[in-house]
Subunit: 337 residues, 2 copies
Amino acid sequence: MVTSEAGSGAGGTGAGLLADVGEDAVVATLLERFAALGPAAGEPDDVLVGPGDDAAVLRVRRGHAVVSTDLLVEDRHFRRDWCSATDVGHRAAAQNLSDINAMGGRAHSLTLGLALPSDLPLAWVREFADGFATEAARVGARVVGGDVTGGDQVVVAVTVLGTVAKAPVLRSGARPGDVVALCGRQGWAAGGLAVLGRGFRSPRVLVEAYRRPEPPYAAGPAAAEAGATALVDVSDGLLSDAGHVAQASGVRIDLRTADLEVAEPLHAVGSALGADPLRFVLTGGDDHPLLGTFPAGATLPEGWRAVGAVHELRVDDTSAVTVDGEVPEGDLGWRHF
Amino acid sequence: MVTSEAGSGAGGTGAGLLADVGEDAVVATLLERFAALGPAAGEPDDVLVGPGDDAAVLRVRRGHAVVSTDLLVEDRHFRRDWCSATDVGHRAAAQNLSDINAMGGRAHSLTLGLALPSDLPLAWVREFADGFATEAARVGARVVGGDVTGGDQVVVAVTVLGTVAKAPVLRSGARPGDVVALCGRQGWAAGGLAVLGRGFRSPRVLVEAYRRPEPPYAAGPAAAEAGATALVDVSDGLLSDAGHVAQASGVRIDLRTADLEVAEPLHAVGSALGADPLRFVLTGGDDHPLLGTFPAGATLPEGWRAVGAVHELRVDDTSAVTVDGEVPEGDLGWRHF
């Protein structure tokens, strides 16, 4: 499969291992791919100095900057035998871009830190860069800086910078009487992960959803425009992240199962694995839809659907999140340790 | 040593392992320490939303933002038996803050991503946070966001944001005729590392220099003010980083050994280990002094000393960096893979 002429640095087929090709080839491979990224259509180019100096330099305009950081760790957040390098690149960018979406903002810049085992093929780096760049291009974000180093496992550390048009939409603004709404796929990635965990590769649409989330990047700014009172990126699980909004806002959020969309393939997986498909929707992470709250009577932007309501949190409430009025049972989402 | 009452979350003595205390206790431990950080004296508080939402929100003023990312990986950049958690915290902050210094800028915000093994004691996290916060406080930088996750080894991913008063000082501005100058300790950390590598713990001043670099944070803005034409953070080694400036500027940099300060303890270590102490100064990393170029005749700011000169790069030059006019031999610095 791999010819002996391969591995000749950034221009080769990438069969060489990082230990052989060295850091310069890794950096060149990344920069080559990222150089093609530009600002979103109609946006000015605010990157004055990109990668290569001690720091990147951005032109900033008066206003609000939003910044967020996320890590992806091999064998925790992805397995190299379950996800291609391109998938991991997409995912690493998506989960960070989604955080800016969840502020009602638009991302413009990314930094990328990579810890890479020395026995990793350079081709993995190139494919990762492809996925990362393709995802960044979806919102017009640039890669302005980074760091590459060795490590025992792949760790991808991304920081994203963005702007909000007016005020950012926080988790803490939900008020009793607000409508709770969701935009984007939810539960698909968890279904795909369950399938992969049993050694299967289908339904393919769920496996693909796990490998490459498709956050609804236009939904955050649209929600902000429509008067959303709170927004959160659903990364840990619907119940878990609804709980983050409820706690930050001092309210109770009730989700109505009748209004939660359980995608057809999830029913199939549920039957095959003997699991309740609704469980994927309630507790699954990694899809990165947005959960928002809107004033009663607000017109929800396109793609959003009402899935619950915000209530006052009473002294005798034992949970800030309820499902059809009941306290949910069991584990609510992702545990990091 | 460790009592059974310990490990009771963020308020305990921290004897609990992360697997036992869980993610919330880790985050609480970090936030508790970082909450005390404020802006530098006389500076406005521009952090509108700190950690806890999907992203932090900063008030930005019209001008230039500088941003940089660095990773610290256990067993590559530090060993837990050679450096305390507090040391690692200091180092992780210092190496990033130094990048802003090297743009002639001032850092105001940091994000912190941590991959942590589940058998790490919570006390390690608390001590790390102490070091990180203490170093950040030296320049008035805040921790505005982060991410905590599991991992096989400790990985610290830091992104730093800052501002420059006027224009940033890049690596590419050195011109033939400029004076090359250095500010800060150089070679000390390499001496300390050499000592630790032989199983010794002294000279203590060098070991401490390795564990906790002391970048000259005021030197970058002062150099910018004095008209520096190029600046670089010396993290990989003096020859290596001088090479970065020379290559970016298209010049040759000549260093004069007679003007390079070889600290007394380095002579002692050189004698003991049979090494040339000058080698620590020329190739050692991790001290984070600044190397700068200034127009001939410029008054160097306090703490800077002239150590060389910038020359035209001629067609027959085989190296962009020379030492006393000669091409240096051997490995020039740090290899990442």
